[in-house]
Every structure is written in C-alpha cells, then in structure tokens.
Amino acid sequence: MTGVNATGVKESERLARVVLSRIGEPGDPRLTDLVHQLGGEMVLASLRHQAADRELGADLAERLESADPVLELERASAQGIRFVVPGDAEWPAGLDDLAHAPHLHERGGVPVGLWCRGKPRLDQVTEQAVSVVGSRSATTYGADVAADIAGTLARASWTVVSGAAFGIDQAAHRGALANRGPTLAVLACGADRAYPAAHRSLIDYIADFGLVVSEAPPGCAPTRIRFLARNRVIAGLTRGAVVVEAAVRSGALNTANWAGGLGRTVMAVPGPVTSAPSAGAHQLIRARDALLVTSGEEVLEAVGPIGSFTLEDPREPEHPRDRLPRRERQVLDAVPLVQAVDSSSIARTAGIAHGRTKDALLVLHRAGLVEHSLGRWRVVTDQESP
C-alpha cells in the first residue's frame, strides 16, 4: 500500500489523514473503510476529484475547502496533542480489528487516526487494557464497584479505559488514578475539550498522568453520533469490556456490543435485581452475552493470559468439625451443649454402641471439641460459633 510501512508513515499520508479526520465524521464507514483499503492520500485525491463516492464527496466538499493540515498539526501540538495514524509505531494493533467488525448504528471501520493528549505511548498503554463502562445515571453502589474493579486492575498494571462521562466512567478513572495506575479516556469531542464540562479537571488530570484520546480532531463538539463512534474505539483499544450498571438504553451496552463484535471479552457486574440502573447489565448476563464478574480479580482472570490469574472458588472457612469422620461427627452431635451427661446417655442419643462412643469421645476430647469432668461430657463452648 502506498505510503504505509512498518516503521513509519509518509508525511503526505499523515497530512492527508489529518484532512480526512477534519472533514469526515468519526467512524463514518463510507470513509473509514475506503481509507483502510486505499490509504488516506488516495482517498483524499479522489475526493478532490469527486470520484471516490459521489455522495460522500458532496458531503465533504464543504469542509474540504478550508482544510489546512499543517496548521492543524501545529495547533494541536501547541496544545500537547499528537495525531497517531495506522503504521505509526504507536498505533495499537487491536484497532485494526475494527475493519472486520460488523457496523453498528452505521458506524464502523478503523479510525483514520487518533488524536492523543498525554505522555504514554498509545500502543504501550493499551497493551493490557480493559474498559470499565456504565451508566451516567449510576448509583453509589455502581460507582463503588467500578472504582474498586478499576483499582484492582490498576494495581495489576492494567490500563483502565473509559469515556470520562459522569457516573461509572468517572468512578472507573478515579479508581485507577487513586491507585496510581494507568488510565485512558476516549472522548467523543476533541481531545482538547472537556465533555462534560464539569470533568474538565478530571480530563486534564488524566492527560497529565495517562492518555486522553479522540477520533475527532481538536475543537470538535460532542454529538450524539460521535458517542456511538467513540464506543467502538473504546472496544477496539481493550481486551475486554466490563459493564457496571447500564440501564436498558445505556450507551454502555453499545460499547459492550462493539466489544462482542470484536471478539473481546464482555463482562457485566450484577446489581440488585430490582435496580433499574442494573437492568441492562442483567440483560447482558441473561442473554449470555456477558460473563458475570464481581471483582477486579475476576476481570483479570477473564482477560489475562490463561493461567496468570486463577481464582479459587469462594469457600466458608473450615471448621475443625468438618474433618471429623462420620462416627465422631455423629457422637459430637449427641453431646449436649450445657448440661454434661455420661457417655452411655450420649451413646443412646447418637445411636452408636457404648464402647465406640467412648472411643469417639476420646478422639473428640483430643481435638479439643468436648470436655469432661466426673465422667460427664459436654461440648466445649468457648470456641467461635460458625
């Protein structure tokens, strides 16, 4: 393919993609698919001649007039924003999977390029990454769980990817940052902007310690359709998606669908069954589209390399009684708690021969489970009850 090789990207190709990023809508499959097949330069050239796709060309002609890619890159760089395109060493391979994923809501395809704000390299930071997404109208329960999961991921040096929105997104970023872990925010607006505005300081903080990424060029406003395109980038950058509290019509479900379409591990955290904000997550689990997870460890087990995080099934703590043979257990059940009795009475209650009962009592006595005085037996009571 022209202009693209393994080590670097031709400057003309990068500039062409800057123009395309500026004039096209993020995730418009008419554009992304063409660019993925032909390269930015060729698509741009044909657009200029109205040849690529008549309808698309007409749509983009307006914006094409004023495009100035060199100035665009300069301005972005002044804001600490760089433009990463396929072929760059920094380009995460996972994003190319989007070329094969089914389109959703007429969005799809590999991004023309990604605008990145922050120091870490995009490919390195997404090497081991999981998205934690959920409803904006989350509850404190969901926020706590999301932050907890994100914190566990962060401590294991996994990157937490989310969308910097209110609710679960914010909690997820927060959980990662509080544990000094890497986190990445994918925005629907330009990487220089903050949406929601109240999260300006959160987003700036992520840019300082992690990475803020957007498919839309700097200055772009967040529109409804851009959120749908954004969700596909979140899915493409990560190995799995964890849905915490998504109502039935939540955008988080869109992210989960993208992750499913890309063959990523989709996970969902259940909530109270009566809770509306958890209904979408429950639906995912019910339809077997998602794996039920309840902690960061379980997420790591699901997305990590096989065998690297294995969890034991939760168990009740073992009680000394659990290891007793059947006969001793039967005798122990027959020993009274309060009023001590002699061994023959215990034998009657247990339904076991007197001699064997006495043997069993001695075993139990050695194990510290029963006590006796003057030939009468009772259970040792000072131990903790189960």
Binding site: G151, L177, R193, S201, Y205
Partner: protein, 538 residues
C-alpha cells in the same frame, strides 16, 4: 399595709407572671407564706428575714406578715422568689415607699443571709415571659444582666444586694456591695470541647459521597439520621460535622436556645446569645434524666433540649438503656419533651436533629453487602443487636446510611477535592430559605416539622410521585408514618435542588435515603457542582 411585687414562675419553658403580695396587719405575730410554694420558697421566710435585717432595714416584728403568691393554684418553685418577697415586705413596712414602679417590674434573685443577691437559673426565659406580659423592667443578679438584656424592649437592672434594689426603687444613691459570683454551670455531659467543632470541616472527609449527601439533606430539612457502619468507618466524623452545615440561628431561634441553656444553668456569665446550632453527644451511660430532662428538686432540661435547634448525636445507640430509647419517641416525633413529675408538668422544646450511630453488629465488623467483612458474631447476637435499633424508633428515622471504611480508590485526588462545609452550608441555607418562604404563615420552619395532614393537603405530591408513594405503602414497604416522613424528605430534596415541587425523582431519592439503598450519582449535589477553577472554552 399591702404591697405587691411581681416575678415569674417557670414550668418547663413556660413562664407565668406571679404576684407577690405582702400584707402587714394585726394578729398573731408570724410570717405566713401561702399560694403553693415549694420547699425552697418556704425557706425564703428565713432567708428574707435575715437579709432584710442585715441590710439595715427592719423586718416587721410587731405585726402578722402574710405573703401570698398568686395565682394561688399554680405550683411555684425556685429560690428567686426571695427578692420579690423581701422587697414586698419592705414596700409594705417602710413608710412612704414609692409603689408606682412595682407592678411593671419583675424581680428575680435569691438572697443570702447578709442581704446579697445570688444568681438563679432561667433568668432569660423569665425575662422573656415578663416581657411577653408587658412588664418593662427586670431586676436580676448582676452577672446575669447580659442574659436578661437579650430580650428586646426590657429595662434591665443588674443588682448585687437587696439594699441596692431598695435604693433604686426609692431613687436614692445606690450603695456599694460585694460582687456577685456567677452561677456555677455544670457541663455534665458534653464530652468534647465545643470549640473543637468549629475546626471540623467536610473538606477533611474523603469519599462517602452517599453519606455526605444524606447529611446535606438532613441538614436542609432537619431530618433524623441513622448511620451504621463498622467501627472506625467515620460515623462520628460525619455526625460532628453536621452542625457545621447548619446556618446560624435567627433571632427567635437564638433566644429560644439561649433560654433553654439558661434554664439548665449552663449559660456562662456574660455569655453572648448562642447563635450557632448546638451539638450534644451524651455518652450511652448518661442517665435518663440527663438525656431527657427532669431531676430531683428543680426540673432541668436534658441533653435533648440543650440540643434544641441543633444536633443530638447518640453514638453506639443500641447501648443506651431501653427506657431512654423508648422515651425518645416523643422528641423524635413532636419536637418537644414533656416531663411529668408529681404536681409538676414541664414541657421543654426539643426540635433536635437526632443522629443515631451504631455498629452493624456487636463486634462492629459485619456488613450485609460486603463479602469481605470479618464479623465473628453469631447470627443470634447480630439479630438481638439489630432488634434494639428497629421497631418504633427505626420508623421515625428519615434517613439511614451505611458508612463504609475508606477504600483505596477514595483517596482524595487533585481534580475532585471534597467540598468544604461552607459550600454545603450555602446550599443548605438556600434550601432552608425556600422552606421559610413556603411555611411563612405556619408555626414551623422546616420540612421535618410540617404536620403530615397539612403537608398532604397543602403541599402534596402529585401525579406519578403520589402514585409511587401509595404503591410503596400498599406493598407494605412503608408504614403510613413512614410515607409522611418520605414525603417530607422529598420536599427537602426538592428544596436542595431548587425544584418547585418534588417529582418522582425527588421521591425516589427520599425512598432510597430511607431504605438505605444506594443513591443515584446524579442526585448527589456535591458531584453536580464539582468546583472547577478553569473556565470552559467556548
């Protein structure tokens, strides 16, 4: 000869103006005191006689002295009758004593044998009662001048001795007298310095978004709050910061509170009016009398009343004696407490916000929704512990929250620092202002005190919100009383978010607050207004 002076007798927080009439006439020489005096007044006879004689006057020894305290059927108590009795006796016995000033003046003060005046508790409420009855002058012990002067429109004379009062009344030069010692207050139960509270700020509380908001709603509407959580999770931390969220008391409130403290004798000499909402945290070993009021001899207001218009924090609430807990029902519901003891009925105000705190189980580690809890209590003990919280008291608690121990992800980060108390107090003040406007014509000030029937009639829930609340009641998840309480909290939530009438969203928040279920993040005002020092680019 007859002379009349006036004073005030207190029954709880209710003051009655009492006439002290002295008649000197022929008859069996004796001093008779009639009009249902208690022991301390009966003793006044001896104190007054000695005080009069030692002040350079003469007790009428050749005639019968009859002292009447009227109205007669009102039981009277307190040593402050000394001064009006002594003055009345002298006014009756001294020739040409000017009587004109007497009916418009209230005399308050105990006398010593050498004729000096001593401080008495309750000067402020007595002065308030006197002023309300049109008396324009009060004579009070000198250290309590400021206290009496808090009541507007009253001329206050601070006096040191009986001789000084007589001189004032006769328009003579006031003689010198020894200084009067201030009333010795006894802060029996406040176990932390009051000043410490001023330094406590919500900015120091990390995480706990849920509980923070619960505190804000409670502060806005004056609702009762229950915080449960493992030991060390921050229940006390939160409760202590609640008064800091409340606005200053207004003039009426401040007078009310100061009056209660005056009654309990805990007002320091020369103290200004109390303008900050009080915070009281009696220990669970405190006596029933200490918490509710009462006592032998004089009936004193308890902690419940001293926390009037403020916060009463009952930590380790299940450890309080059952009879105390049961007796809290009245102040929880009615905002006052009545103490009946023999002849005496005293009613003290107790418009207090209760904050109950308890562990989730005897060992304090249990958490119903946390798989990692380290509780070792047997279920039987847990249940017994829980039983102490539930029942009629639980139904009167508007807001219940679990307080979780701090988790690593709640560490404060530079982009979202916890809100300081000042910011929250501003919102609370605005919410309270809205309530004052709404209830302008009503005798209550806060949502929590609005009577249920009136609330339903004048400020009802409408549409889907009303249906939802009814559904909760019919489904048995809410008692009728609970529904009223949820209704009030819904109003507070609406007031906090500047909404004209609570809708289904506000009701939902109120139901969640009551049932201890997690809140929607979008309803937490602390998160809605994340302070940002950068302006948003266009």
């Amino acid at each position: 000869m007859v002379a009349t002076t006036r004073t005030v007798s207190l029954q709880g927080a209710i003051g009655h103006v009492v006439d002290v009439q002295v008649d000197l006439s022929q008859g069996l020489i004796a001093t008779a005191l009639v009009g249902r005096p208690d022991t301390s007044i009966s003793e006044a006879r001896d104190r007054c006689r000695a005080a009069v004689n030692n002040s350079g006057f003469e007790w009428p020894v050749t005639r019968r002295v009859t002292v009447l305290l009227s109205p007669t059927d009102l039981p009277k108590r307190g040593p402050h009758f000394d001064l009006p009795i002594a003055v009345a006796v002298l006014a009756a016995s001294i020739k040409d004593f000017p009587q004109e000033g007497l009916p418009a003046a209230a005399m308050i003060g105990e006398l010593t044998l050498d004729g000096r005046v001593r401080c008495v508790p309750g000067v402020l409420p007595m002065t308030m009662a006197a002023a309300a009855r049109g008396l324009d002058t009060v004579y009070v012990p000198e250290p309590q001048t400021e206290e009496a002067a808090m009541v507007p429109g009253v001329r206050v004379f601070g006096i040191r001795s009986l001789a000084q009062v007589i001189a004032l009344l006769r328009g003579e030069e006031v003689p010198e007298a020894q200084e009067v010692e201030p009333l010795t207050g006894s802060p029996l139960l406040s176990w932390r310095g009051e000043e410490r509270l001023e330094d406590l700020d919500m900015a120091d509380v990390m995480g706990m978004a849920d509980a923070r908001y619960a505190l804000e709603v409670a502060a806005a509407g004056g609702h009762h709050l229950l915080l449960t959580g493992p030991k060390g999770s921050g229940k006390t931390t939160l409760a202590e910061r609640l008064p800091g969220l409340l606005p200053d008391l207004n003039d009426d409130e401040s007078l009310e509170l100061t009056a209660v403290h005056s009654l309990s004798g805990s007002l320091p000499a020369g103290a200004a009016r109390l303008t900050r909402p009080p915070f009281r945290a009696p220990h669970h070993s405190a006596s029933r009398t200490g918490i509710l009021g009462g006592g032998t001899g004089r009936v004193r207001p308890g902690e419940v009343s001293k926390a009037h218009l403020g916060v009463l924090f009952l930590d380790e609430f299940p450890l309080f004696p059952t009879d105390v807990v049961e007796a809290l029902r009245e102040p929880l519901e009615a905002g006052e407490i009545s103490i009946s003891r023999g002849e005496e009925d005293a009613v003290y105000p107790a418009r207090t916000m209760f904050v109950f705190a308890c562990n989730p189980c005897p060992c304090g580690e249990y958490h119903p929704y946390n798989r990692d809890h380290h509780c070792t209590c047997p279920e039987v003990k847990r249940r017994a512990y829980r039983r102490k919280i539930s029942g009629p008291i639980a139904d009167r608690i508007d807001i219940t929250r679990f307080v979780e121990p701090l988790r690593p992800y709640e560490r404060t980060l530079p982009f979202d620092r916890p809100e300081p108390s000042v910011v929250i107090r501003r919102r609370v003040s605005e919410a309270r202002l809205r309530q004052h406007k709404r209830y302008a014509a009503m005798p209550w000030r806060l949502n929590a005190h609005a009577p249920g029937p009136l609330l339903r009639e004048q400020w009802p829930l409408t549409g889907p919100a009303a249906l939802r609340l009814d559904a909760e009641v019919y489904a048995g998840r809410l008692t009728r009383r609970g529904a009223v309480r949820v209704h009030r909290v819904a109003w507070s939530v609406a007031d906090l978010s500047d909404i004209d009438r609570p809708g289904v969203d506000e009701l939902d928040v109120a139901l969640r607050l009551r049932s201890a279920t997690p809140l929607l993040l979008s309803s937490l005002s602390g998160l809605r207004a994340v302070p940002s020092d950068e302006s948003e680019p266009a």
